[in-house]
Every structure is written in C-alpha cells, then in structure tokens.
C-alpha cells in the first residue's frame, strides 16, 4: 500500500495528470499572440475623432473587487460619463482623454502598487479617483513624489485636506466638517437635542464622527454616547442592543452593506421607533434603497447629491445628467438604479480637472504646477459640467464647498427637506502645505 492514499492506483484517475505537450503549448501561445495582436490593431474609440492628437493619460484607481466593489462600479460610471462627454465635445485643448483604469481590490497595499504602476509605467498625466479613504491616504504621497495632480472623487476622510493635505491633491466636493456644519442646525433644531452616534470604526467613520460631535455641540445639542463598529461587521445586533437610555436621535455613519444593516437592524430592534434615525447620506444611496425597503421610512440623511428632479435640482442640466447616467447604470445593474453620489462626484471631479487643464493650457506632467495654480480657487458654475450646483475649490486647503441636501426617505423614495447653501457649509482651513 502506498504511503499517501493519493498515490494509490484507484485514486489516479480522480484528477487530470496535467501533461502539456510542446505542440499544445505552441498552439496556445500562437492563439494568444494572435488575439493580443488583433486587439492592438483595433483603434481606441478616441482615435477616429482626433486623428494623431496625443491623448492625455488620465488614471483612475477604483475598488472594482473586494468589499467596496459595488461603490467602485458606480464611481467608475461617473468617470466614464465625464470622459466620454469630454471626448465627444472635442477633448481638452484639442486632445482626447485616454482613461487608464486600475482595480485596487479595496486594499491599501494594492492601491499603492497600482498607483505606482500608473505613475511609473503608464506615465499618467493626472489621476482622478479613489473611494476608500485609507487607500486615498496611502496613495497621496506617491502623487506628490511623482508630481502628478490627484483629484479625489469619493474619499471623505477629513485629514485628506487638513492635517495630511498635499499640494498635489484636490477634493472638488464636500467633506465631513462641511456636512456636519450643514446638518447640525437641522438635527438639533428640528429633530432633537440629544444624540447617540454609531459609526464605522476606521479613518472616514472616526473623522466624520468627530465632525458631527462638534457640530451638535456647537448648535446647543448634546452627545450622549458614541459606538464604533468594526468595518465589515454584517450583524450589528449585539452592539445596537446595548444602546438605550433617554435621548432623541440615533445618527449612523456607514456606507454600503453596513449602512443597510444599521438601518434595518435599528428598525428590527425598535430603535427607529424610539429615536429619530438620521445619518450620513452614504447609508441610503440609491443602490441601497431596494434592500432597506420600508424599514428606512423616516430616515433623515445629509448628502451632496440626491437623484431627484425637484426644487433646485429640477434643472435641464441635471435632467441631462440623469438621462446619461440612468442607461449606463442599467447596463451594469439590471434593477436600473438612479445615480448615487459616487457617480456625481466622479463626474464632476473629472470636469473640474478638465477646466483646470483648459485654464492652464496643460500639456503634460511638465505643467503640473500650472495645473495646480489653475485649480486653486477654481469657481465651478452650475451647468452641464456641475449639474448639482456651484462649487468653490478653496486655495488654502484644496477643499471644495457646495450646497448640501437634507432629505427624508419615505416609501423607498427621497424627499428633500432642506437645501443648505454652499456659503453655510464653509469651515476654516486647517492645512499647511509642506
């Protein structure tokens, strides 16, 4: 009897022996080479329109697999919408944009590796993307080292434009302190004075929690407790079960599946009947609403974007944005969701970069400093480039300010409660560029 059962004759036919002949190897190699060659012969879509004009290389790192993949997919839709629209409209400075996409698998180490590849091997002219704050923070020093402009399109961690700010990184949309300043008066004035905050216990969740604690206190409210829940926890019931006592509102800071879990499990435990439920807009984005269902009725969220055609958002440019985004989302998701804030901020982020490139007559990396100067203090006007409203990209910290929306979820739909103008979301700059 053989020492290992696998070596027994009866076990031999249980798996393929794995023999590869030279003929088979050569045949497969020829087929692969043919397929690769054929792909190279097919011109890129922009070649037809721009002839020999050298394209700008725009890199985008997104989490297309791993825990943040669903958000990364919609974020990429926003980037592609903007690039397609720019190329269709004649490009930037007469040159098309070539989009180079990298999947960082929702991991910071992979993010750094992929960023390095985009910068060194692909020699990108600029980068627009990011989703998870820890990945954005991990990659920021690389853009600085290679002197390439980095447009953050989703990451919300406060320190990106405060203590860890970089001359090369811009965030052309809101951040937690602005959101908190916008939401604070409504929370304390119309929902209740005493709040308990439950948050995702990592970079973004912690900094957002700090901002809301400050905003609630500043408006005369009180924080009775905070609960940090580890990132990725699917069942929060043991932790939510501990929350009790006399207070008015329960505020959640989560995104994706954890946002869904927080709202549904708070309902299941009767917490949303006892307390007013509110939270960061990331908890109830349009791709999460079907899973939340009626359990989310009454949830009040604050967001930079709400996909509704009402009030200040009932404009022709917002309608055009929706008309472009909805079919693209339908193509990647049969349920046909409305665009979320990730689609919006990626779309507008690339448009901000476009305007900066036009203003600075950007040619490539050698003009990075000119591009930075053009982006600093950039005023973005409401229109097809910025369908959600005017924005200002502050020079001192590269942080933008825009109008914020307070909304309520009812019957699986958004209803805007209040629009906070961008002037009321401004907070002092807290950045010193190295």
């Amino acid at each position: 009897m053989a020492e290992r059962w696998q070596d027994e004759p009866w076990a031999k036919d249980m798996w393929w022996s794995g023999k590869t002949t030279r003929r088979r190897f050569l045949g497969l190699s020829a087929a692969t080479a043919g397929a690769v060659g054929a792909t190279m012969l097919v011109p890129a879509p922009w070649r037809e329109a721009f002839g020999q004009a050298k394209p700008y290389k725009l890199g985008t790192l997104q989490p297309l697999s791993g825990t943040a993949a669903p958000g990364g997919k919609t974020a990429l839709v926003g980037i592609q919408m903007a690039v397609d629209r720019i190329n269709k409209g004649g490009g930037v400075n007469g040159r098309p944009i070539e989009l180079l996409i990298g999947d960082y698998e929702s991991k910071p180490d992979v993010g750094r590796r992929k960023a390095e590849r985009l910068l060194v091997e692909d020699k990108i002219d600029a980068h627009a993307g990011g989703y998870l704050s820890n990945v954005c923070l991990a990659c920021m020093p690389l853009y600085e080292e290679h002197k390439v402009v980095n447009i953050i399109t989703v990451c919300l961690d406060t320190t990106i434009t405060t203590s860890k700010c970089s001359r090369y990184t811009f965030r052309p949309f809101d951040f937690a302190p602005s959101q908190a300043v916008a939401a604070g008066p409504y929370m304390v004035g119309k929902m209740g004075k005493k709040w308990h905050i439950v948050y995702a216990d990592y970079a973004w969740g912690q900094s957002t929690k700090d901002a809301y604690v400050e905003a609630v206190k500043k408006n005369g409210g009180e924080i009775v407790g905070t609960t940090g829940i580890p990132l990725g926890t699917a069942d929060m019931t043991p932790f939510l079960s501990k929350i009790s006592g006399s207070f008015d509102g329960l505020f959640g800071i989560f995104f994706g599946p954890q946002g869904i879990a927080f709202i549904t499990q708070s309902f299941d435990l009767g917490l949303s009947k006892k307390y007013r439920l509110a939270g960061d807009g990331a908890m109830a984005v349009s791709t999460s609403l079907p899973a939340i269902g009626a359990k989310g009725d009454g949830f009040v969220g604050l967001d930079r974007y709400v996909p509704v055609l009402e009030g200040v958002l009932n404009t022709p440019h917002h309608k055009r944005f929706l008309d472009d985004a909805v079919p693209r989302l339908k193509a990647i998701d049969p349920s046909g969701p409305m665009p979320d804030r990730y689609v919006q901020s990626n779309y507008e982020g690339v448009n901000a970069l476009k305007i900066g490139m036009q203003k600075s007559r950007f040619r490539g990396r050698e003009d990075t400093m000119k591009l930075i100067e053009a982006l600093e203090g950039l005023e973005m006007k409401e229109g097809d480039d910025f369908p959600v409203g005017d924005k200002l990209l502050r020079k001192e910290d590269h942080q933008a300010f825009q109008r914020e929306f307070l909304y309520e979820v009812r019957g699986g739909k958004y209803k805007i409660l209040e629009v906070v103008p961008k002037e009321k979301t401004v907070v002092p700059a807290a950045c010193k560029f190295a």
């Binding site: 997919k73 069942d235 043991p238 599946p257 299941d268 998701d333």
Partner: protein
C-alpha cells in the same frame, strides 16, 4: 463593575441566534474539509450566491419558503458542478493548490455576482414579522425563528448522517477513504455529494440571513472569516465541535460587547482562535484522539 441582568439576557439571546446562523455556515465548511481536506475559501461566496438566488426567486414568486428551497437546490447543483469540474482534479495535490483554487473561485463568484446582479443590494422580505418586548428593546421574532430553522436543518442533517444509508456512506468515507472504497462506496460521488450539501447549507444560511442585513455582493466576507475561526476552534472536520464552537464564539463576542467596545469584542474571537491553536490545536470541543471515537476525522488521522 456590576453588569445589568437585562444586558446579560439580551446578549445571551443575541449570541445564541448568531451562533446558530454561524453554525449552519460553519457546518458546511467543516464537512467539506472533513471529507476532502479542502479548505474552501469560496464558502462565504456560496452564502452570497444563495442569498441572491433567493432574492431573485422572491422577486419572481413572492414566496420566502420557495426561495429558500430554490436557493438551496440551485447552489447544491452548482456546488456539485464546481467540485466535479474544479476541485476533483486537484484532489491529492498539495493542500496549497486547493486553497489557491478555492480562493480563485471566490474571486470569480464575487465578480460574477457583480456582473449578474449589479452593484445594487437586494431585499429578502422575512416570512415572520413582528417583535416582542425584551426589556428596553423590541426583539424581532424572525431572529429567534432563524435560530430554530438553523437548528432544525443541522439536526436533520445530523440524523441523516447517523441513520441514513447515504449518511453512513459519508461517515465511512470520512473515517477511511480506502476502506470505504474497498467496501463498494463510490468515494468520488460521495465527495461531490458532500460538497453539494455544504453548498446548500451555505445557500440556506444566506437566505435566512438576507432579511437581517440585506443581500449584497460582500455579505460572504464576514461569514467566511468567522466560520473559519469556528471551524478551527471546534476542531477541523468535526461537525459537532463546529456547532458548539459557533455558539461559544458568538456568545463570547456578545458578552464581551457588554463590557468592552465592539472593536475589542471582535478581537475576543481572534484570541480564542490563537489560544486554541497554541494550547489545543485539535480543537476545543474534540476529545483527545485516543480517548474516544466520537470524532470521525480525529480517528482517521490518528
């Protein structure tokens, strides 16, 4: 520091409920390891796929129970095909090969789910609504029912293994593959069937958990990690040990959350894992191999 009685009782219920769902996931995982020596890194993704199949069936039929059955059957057939096409050819090779293969399958399944269903999360409507008062909380009946469903499935499977003809085949194959083959048991078929059963159990837990946290492409991650802790603490390949370990780990985390922060409470299960590996690598709930014949896998490897 005095711990309030209501907290202890609430967390006991939480621990038992979570423990039973986890036991259902882990029992499939441990069964597959016990019979094939395959550490299935794609098990959490089978949970996710089952939940998506369930959500799709509910959207079409409106019936939770039909969705539960369809998901278990579809994923069982899929699991059988997966085992026959991908894992069977690797049997007997270096264990690292199967680990890498299942890891690859996991990535493919995640990408498939994202491609097939898109980034939107799906809803599974619970068949039992309503809550009962438990101190300051309203506790959902569905959570309690979930623990019973999971217990019933595990119990039925236990009986099948103990008394069913094919259950005896599985036990025989677990104990000694060569002898089982010599006795006329079709060992490769048993392997495929066990993988299918494990996959069906994963799908069943996905559908049961769906109403509690929504159906998302990433819902399997948390399950996979926790199920692996349970399988190691319970004793690799030991079904009874895994069930006890699932309840033990869930109760431990639930009680820990009374006195420490959630992040620290989660660490407790990792500590249990490290301590088990250091002081009792065969598993906490496994009798020492020579003292009893209760653990089939231990007997086989001894």
């Amino acid at each position: 520091m005095a711990i309030p009685f209501d907290q202890i009782l609430i967390q006991t219920v939480n621990g038992l409920v979570n423990g039973m769902i986890l036991a259902l996931v882990a029992s499939g995982l441990t069964l597959i390891f016990g019979i094939m020596d395959v550490v299935n890194f794609a098990h959490g993704d089978l949970v996710m796929l089952g939940a998506f199949v369930g959500a799709t069936t509910i959207a079409a039929t409106g019936s939770f129970w039909l969705a539960f059955l369809v998901a278990a059957l579809v994923i069982a057939v899929f699991g059988a095909a997966l085992q026959a096409s991908t894992l069977r050819p690797l049997l007997g090779r270096d264990p690292l090969t199967t680990i890498l293969a299942t890891f690859g399958i996991s990535l493919v399944l995640q990408k498939y789910a994202l491609w097939q269903w898109g980034p939107s999360a799906r809803k599974i409507q619970e068949p039992i609504t309503g809550q009962f008062a438990m101190f300051y909380l309203e506790y959902p009946w569905y959570r309690v029912a979930t623990a019973f469903f999971a217990g019933a499935i595990i119990g039925a499977f236990w009986l099948f293994l103990k008394y069913g003809r094919y259950g005896i085949w599985i036990r025989a194959t677990m104990q000694d593959r060569i002898m089982a083959s010599a006795m006329g048991i079709p060992v490769p078929l048993v392997h495929t069937a066990v993988f299918a059963i494990g996959a069906a159990m994963a799908a069943a837990s996905g559908v049961l958990f769906g109403p509690l946290g929504g159906v998302t492409q990433t819902m399997g991650f948390d399950f996979t990690l926790r199920a692996f802790i349970v399988v190691v603490v319970g004793g690799m390949g030991n079904l009874g040990g895994s069930i006890l370990a699932a309840i033990f780990i869930s109760l431990l985390e639930a009680y820990a959350s009374i006195i420490v922060s959630p992040s620290q409470a989660v660490i407790v299960s990792f500590m249990a894992l490290i301590l088990t590996l250091l002081f009792r690598p065969t598993g906490l709930f496994v009798p020492t191999p020579s003292s009893s014949g209760a653990c089939w896998r231990c007997r086989r490897t001894s």
